[in-house]
Amino acid sequence: MHEITTETLPIVDFSKLRCIKGYDELCQHYELYLCDESRLAHQGAELLFFPSNEAEISAIFTEMGKRGITVTLSGARTGLVGGAVPYGGALVSLERLNKVLGIGYDASAREWIVRAECGVLLRDLNNWAMKKTFPGLYERASNETRASLKHYKETKEIFFYPPDPTEMGAALGGTVATNASGARTYRYGATRDWVRKIRVILASGEALEIPRGKYFATPEGEFTIAHSTGVETTVKIPQYTMPQTKNAAGIFSAPHMDLIDLFIGSEGVFGAITEIEIALQKWESPVSIVQFFSSDEKAVDFVISLRKEKSIRPEFIEFYSSHALDLLRKKQAADPKVVGMPPIPDDARSAIFFDLMFDPEKKEHDYSRLEEIVISCGSSLSRSWAAYELRDLQRFKDFRHVLPETVNSIIAERKKEMPELHKLGTDFAVPDRALQEIWEFYKSKLEAAGIEWLAFGHIGNNHFHINLLPRSLNEMEHALSLYREFASKAVSLGGTISAEHGVGKIKQEFFSIMFSDRERDEMKAVKRALDPDHMLNPGNLFAL
């Protein structure tokens, strides 16, 4: 049993750290730092820091702790639930920790591992990994890393980092703090499945290095952390069962769980994640397919049958509902180049977008099982779009993003007449066995409500983005109550109220649908153990 011990970091003179001071100063000239993609109204901050290493972060935490000032952590601010939005206090931007530190091959796990600071953007990490060039790494690396880098470049295969949230401009640290997911989570799992080690700075200013597979909870469900000061903290993990879906809501909990999982997805309330080691996956050339069906229900049937078929392993499975396709048709008529695809066939009433491994050089291809399944759902492989050239794969990717972007611009338009309007999208997911039931529930409620709606999203993970487009305040009220119904239904089916976006500061109502008061108290107990003064990320997960 390994003992969990913290490290003290070198002392840094706090007075020498770059700091922007003053509520007005920050509101006027640093407003970008006070907001994130959720567009949640901020409450300003008094101090803004830009640490460039762990020691500086530690110094900030120590000093803020002394002064009783709360600290909100900020990465790329692409979150959708206000996680990086400060409620006063100090704001710490981690943007300067933006380097890749190393690369190496783990022979026993047979995977390439990349070590990077928290501020590295996901899109950069992925591009560099695939192009096999990491700017500046060679110059700052040790001999061992240089040798690894050389070895990596010489390997024939191409590697990528699978977690692919739509927003690839997110910072790596943020994706770990929120256990980010994307379409590829269907095949490859969420961020959690790809993190091999983290370094965290706790509220006390000490660092904790946690490799996966080293520190496990005792049979009683506890971790004991020995601080360098000699004090020991005991953390008792919550006793609830996690939903059997991809999940970004709440603290991770499981019997004999790994300590690393406590921090992954904790939305920064336990500490600042500074360095992460992630594993890469071999990239195989895919074919992207958009398969058209004559109804939403046929598309859902297709997904159920496709999932049952073990010989077919899609990278991801995405859905476009009937109304979604109609919206895309309208957009195509207005601006064909933006949609970038041929006209959507008139008889296509819903679509499933998925990637399969495909080697264009191979002579023999056997997709007979796929063909059978498509036919059994009333369609055929000729009623599809497919491509494998890189530039066409990009077109399919762009096509996937046109829909949420179009929805956003419609909301922005309507917001001009109705300033209280905001984007209404769902983030609920249920276990596989409940896909049919939840879809029928959504659809019947939505049709009955009579509000303009469309659905798309990661149907492979039973994770729909239902978007309601209200035209009046009345409709918006109605929409919000529908969402509450959806949340309760999802939870009752063993699902989650947040598959991807997290809870942050704005999903607390749904959070309490999913976790009882007692369960949330258990999470709060973990918070008290690791951050007794409640300094870090006030407002995330737990209401103030």
């Binding site: 064909p336 180049k337 779009w385 491509a387």
Partner: protein
């Protein structure tokens, strides 16, 4: 009716970069694609096939083995079969040697045809010469800059809408003839998965120099009349001033000052 389309695989020019130190092309990471104008010619051929389903369409290319991928794209789009002229003896050909090889292959392998379509120009060479040269070798009329066509007189004549300096004109000629195509659909077509799978079962024939009745010294580098004697990077114009235009009024002011200082206004 048989339509032959001559196509070329080219590097994606937008991705090509020059090594600032050596002034040479950086070959790595540049994708190879079916030349866009050749793809327009394929679309034109498929348009004929949609109107006249019994039309036989053939895509032909002279290139290295990798050019197979470009022919695959043609087959996936709906072309019936493809021919790749691949032989190291074809390498280094200028437009003349290329036209001669393609023309010889059309005669030797296909024999007869009703229409030859080519793309206006290849985006790596930009000469637009191979089409007219093929027509001259085969002794058939050619029409350049075609954007639309119409078969007439029971497919014995063809009317081609073509782009000219002042607009468009419609030209008529008897078949067989050659047309170079300069325009295609606004959105590149996407095949269905079925078409991609079917393409793998279509005939893609590999033809070498031995299959053609042509001497080695008439093809490839040996058969070329032009030779490249030097490659160098283009003269780079010096960059001027960059101005932050986030304030529209300041930007407009800057523009008028600039124009005035250069005596344009």
């Amino acid at each position: 009716m048989k339509v032959i389309v001559c196509v070329k695989q080219v590097p994606e020019i937008a991705e090509v970069q020059i090594d600032p130190e050596t002034g040479t092309l950086i070959r790595e990471g540049v994708d190879s694609i079916l030349n866009p104008f050749c793809e327009y010619a394929i679309e034109m051929a498929l348009g004929i096939k949609r109107q006249h389903p019994e039309t036989e369409t053939v895509a032909m290319s002279m290139g290295p083995f990798q050019a197979k991928a470009a022919l695959m794209r043609c087959l996936e789009m709906g072309i019936d079969r493809a021919i790749l002229l691949v032989d190291k003896r074809f390498a280094g050909a200028d437009t003349w040697a290329t036209a001669l090889t393609l023309a010889e292959a059309i005669i030797a392998i296909e024999g007869c045809f009703d229409l030859i379509l080519v793309g206006k120009q290849a985006i790596d060479g930009d000469t637009a010469q191979v089409g007219p040269e093929i027509s001259e070798i085969l002794g058939i009329p050619e029409i350049m800059y075609g954007v639309g066509l119409e078969l007439r007189n029971n497919k014995k004549k063809i009317r081609v809408t073509r782009e000219i300096e002042t607009g468009n004109e419609i030209v008529e000629t008897k078949l067989p003839c050659l047309i170079s195509v300069s325009k295609g659909p606004m959105i590149r077509s996407i095949s269905s998965f079925q078409e991609i799978l079917d393409a793998r079962n279509k005939e893609l024939r590999l033809v070498t120099a031995d299959d053609l009745a042509i001497d080695d010294d008439k093809i490839g580098l040996k058969g070329s009349f032009t030779q490249v004697v030097k490659i160098f990077p283009p003269r780079v114009k010096k960059q001027g001033e960059i101005f932050d235009g986030s304030d529209a009024h300041a930007a407009a002011h800057k523009l008028t000052d600039f124009l005035s200082s250069r005596r344009f206004i």
